[in-house]
Symmetry: C2
Subunit: 578 residues, 2 copies
């Protein structure tokens, strides 16, 4: 995994390939690498859909090895949604396969002539790039079905749906899972629109004939991996809750905490929560012959994903994630799991971020386009996106644009990106992350739900401002580092509570690369990444005032706690003081 593949889509006579060494980026994978390349090579004032932007796809440092949980792939660019730097990551098979093919990064540069669409095929014999007009405007499931006919189902794909081709602000990039379904997405910030603007529909990765990447010290590596897996299996969250119910185990917990945003962030508890909880959905899945406990990539031992069948026992979608169940459920007042699963399927199929879609539909409901609770209306709105109608394009541009076009004041966004499934008035720590993350409102950037609600890694009272900045800061630093390893972020539950599991992760990295990193080195990497990102955003015009929640979180009280967001501006501005 020591090569960087650059594809210049603007080159005369068609896309030009260039391979170079990754020696310029020692110790960098995943988010560290996407951020370093974007920050180093993209003009911060570039138009995100223009020739100057780049799309960088990078597996993590341990991807493609035998390390458990190492299936995350990072995708970076200047975001058309936030206008700042973006790293969105995804599970699925792509990271492992790409890493085994030897690529530390694929960089899409320039832009194909208007109307041209390409596919990239990479296998052990090399890279091929061809026009693919036959894929034009295909939804992801149909696209993958077509690819199966020509490439079989053992390859891994990175693709965009119609939303990406339309260059919509909420367009995602799909990665296929173990069953060759396009269910895992680098969802946030419109990364799919950037891939669409380059004119690349799909990257097909084939590792046939290739083996796992080999550690420098196989023995130490095997031992560390064993301790690491054991740690994940014994922690309550990664060993029990997530496997049993998936991420959706959170519905009851966050609803109970009063931080489950309902009807476009007007309340913190949803009357229909029990109908859409992880427990209920797992039960439905089991009864209908679907699988509630499943891994999204080979080597996953947490297995928080699953499948969801319709009433006739036919595959409808993957098991919807908690964020999706919230976005299309409580936030739209919808309590029917079948409708939510259908919305999840449509989002995956068109290539859309479920969080910004749920937020946009709720804003549209506030504008009177549909009634809160009307699942069929929500489904129709998403179908509009797929059709590319003007209404669909509005919704597909995300919650911020939807609010702008329909004159709605209550737009729950930071830096143009919709807030996820936790109200920052009831869970103040996550508000600090929403406000200050380089990525716009993003729960994964510093998941304070840990100490605020789950009592993982300590406890910080969610309704008070005290301690939230430190909590968010430490998590943002740790997350940036984890996002560079290829590790699924859910390992954080275990490594926050179990020092030996954290040490095992470091041991794995050291054994793999022949290094002697310490925990301090990991933190230093996290800080380095955040500094690069923040510096890029500053040069793109961001100031401290972009590190704020929308005004109404400071002025409109959220039931049932009747809480406001009380972390001061000064506190927010201290997050990056380390």
């Amino acid at each position: 995994m020591d090569k960087i593949l650059r594809i210049n889509m603007s080159a005369k006579g068609g896309p030009a390939l260039k391979e170079e060494s990754n020696a310029k980026y020692p110790g960098m994978g995943g988010r560290a690498l996407t951020t370093a390349i974007i920050a180093g090579e993209v003009h911060p004032m570039a138009n995100p859909l223009g020739e100057e932007n780049k799309l960088v796809i990078a597996p993590g440092l341990l991807s493609g090895s035998a390390a458990a949980m190492s299936g995350r792939i990072s995708i970076g660019c200047k975001s058309p949604l936030t206008g700042g730097i973006k790293e969105a990551n995804s599970g699925g098979q792509a990271a492992q396969v790409m890493a085994r093919l030897g690529y530390a990064a694929i960089v899409l540069e320039g832009r194909a002539p208007e109307g041209e669409l390409y596919k990239v095929v990479i296998n052990k014999d090399g890279v091929k790039i061809d026009k693919a007009p036959e894929y034009k405007m295909l939804p992801n499931y149909d696209l993958i079905e077509k690819v199966k006919a020509t490439h079989g189902d053992k390859v891994a794909c990175i693709s965009i749906g119609p939303a990406g081709e339309m260059k919509l602000g909420a367009a995602s990039i799909a990665c296929t899972d173990m069953e060759f379904r396009p269910t895992r997405h680098a969802g946030r910030g419109g990364v799919g629109a950037v891939m669409g603007s380059k004119g690349v529909k799909i990257i097909i990765l084939d590792d046939a004939g290739l083996e796992n990447r080999k550690p420098a010290d196989p023995e130490k590596f095997r031992e560390a991996n064993k301790v690491f897996v054991e740690g994940l299996r014994t922690h309550a969250v990664t060993g029990s809750a997530l496997p049993a119910y998936g991420t959706n185990v959170l519905v009851n917990l966050i609803n109970e905490a009063g931080g489950f945003p309902t009807n476009n962030f007007k309340e913190g508890r949803f009357a229909g929560a029990s109908s859409i909880s992880g427990e209920t959905i797992a039960d439905i899945e089991t009864k209908r012959g679907a699988n509630p406990t499943h891994g999204c990539h080979r080597g996953c031992v947490i297995r928080c994903s699953g499948t969801y069948h319709d009433k006739n026992g036919k595959f409808l979608s993957k098991q919807p994630e908690y964020e999706t169940v919230w976005a299309h459920g409580a936030n739209c007042g919808i309590d029917d799991p079948d409708k939510i699963a259908m919305l999840d399927f449509l989002d995956d199929n068109y290539g859309l971020d479920t969080i910004d879609m749920g937020a946009a539909i709720a804003v549209a409901m506030d504008a009177g386009l549909a009634k809160f609770g009307d699942g069929d209306a929500a489904i129709n709105l998403i179908k509009e996106v797929g059709k590319g109608t003007p209404l669909g394009r509005i919704i597909g541009s995300g919650a911020a644009t939807t609010a702008k076009v329909f004159g709605v004041e209550r737009a729950p966004v930071v830096k143009g990106q919709a807030m996820p499934a936790y109200d920052p008035r009831a869970i103040q720590g996550i508000g600090v992350t929403y406000a200050t993350s380089t990525q716009g409102a993003d729960h994964t950037a510093g998941y304070c739900i840990t100490a605020n609600v789950l009592k993982v890694g300590g406890f910080v009272d969610p309704l008070k401002s005290e301690g939230q900045v430190e909590l968010s800061r430490n998590l943002q630093i740790a997350t940036a580092a984890i996002d560079s390893t290829g590790m699924c972020l859910f390992i954080a539950f275990a490594i926050l509570d179990q020092p030996e599991t954290f040490q095992a992760l470091i041991d794995m990295l050291n054994a793999f690369y022949g290094l002697s990193m310490t925990a301090d080195d990991v933190a230093a990497l996290g800080k380095q990444i955040l500094t690069m990102e923040r510096d890029f955003n500053k040069k793109a015009g961001f100031t401290a005032l972009d590190d704020r929640l929308p005004r109404y979180f400071y002025t409109e009280k959220l039931p049932p706690h009747n809480a406001l967001f009380t972390v001061t501006d000064e506190e927010l501005d201290s997050v990056y003081n380390w």
Copy 2:
């Protein structure tokens, strides 16, 4: 004119009125006053459509007096289009009538409950505010027709059309002209959306029984006014060109200069220019029995406005302004004056900024929604706005949002507001104003066309960067001051070239208020206004990086000069150094 009327639309039991003295704002009228109130009272991070924003309407210092040209009214708020402070001003009768009623400003505060719509009637007996459901979604012409039936045609009205009620980003506020037509607009920055968000449809101003405001020194005032008028009559622009052809006299001049943006800013010359020139349009007007030389308010001696009739000799619209002829003409590739006049009428009727509309339609044409040159398609797009369809709402949100929703890179906007009718690559001075104005891209904020093209107030080579910053700086300062006097900005042509005409303006102000201001004091006022505005914008999150043109003006050459915008960032950042 020493009262400020505040109307709190949020008050329990219906709108609450409050009158106070304007003593807190000595020597401030028009833009100085709107800016001082907004900067002093509106939270810079407020949502522009929320309860915290205010809409301030203020006639100029000399409005309502016998001073020639003193019919401008300023409307200020935090802009939903730019996110910064906004002053948009308009001609028509409103300034004079409001000033005679004694109001230095009307401040709309709070927000009426969803769905409620109000009218405000002000006459010598006081202020009345009533629900006006009968006006709901009425276009401006229909609205004014209805008002005529109840209030006669001697009143002056300030109103919004459906675009304002829909809270669209390009919604304007209309002021009636001398013939009681809603033809004069505070067009830019979405001021109409803010009025709509407050729930106020119309302000009806009736000065029956009231006289002109009296100067402190009538004799000196009369004398100064005489010299002033004489100066306007003898200058080539204000005395000949504008009366004969209106602002549209610029078509041939700017086209010749290669700075007439064509087909969404792709070229600097339009093949169809002669079909839409001021000369051609005045000729059509004369032949069809319309009036090419007309004043938009009583006391106007330049008389650059006019009327435009259709082929059957029936009133179609006011004489379209140069910016409109450009926006709906060359920028959309349309060379049919009848179509342009129809677009002008529709914009006025729905209450839309013609500049952002023309720019948005050209962006939509780039997205493939219509062909450049197709006037009927453009008319249909504007009709969509009137109908409030999703497509119409996109277009009505302005060029920046249209580009975002349709994934178009070439969006000619600064701070979210569309550029007017001069390409900054061929006329570099206006580019400095576009980039650095507190208002977003705005030609009136510092009209460098004077020295760059018209050779008024000297000559600065339009294709070179030298001297442009100083030119723009001085004009921005002077403009902010003029915008506070109630004077039409077109007096600038004469006062830039003729020191005695400038002195006459100062003499009028001094005679009216019993002051002894000098030219330096006028400049100091301009600087004070700009400083307040810039400070507000800074607190709203603007940085030097917002004072830039879109990247493609630096990288894509504009024919026929094949010019790029070459003023450096450092130069732009020096505009406010005085």
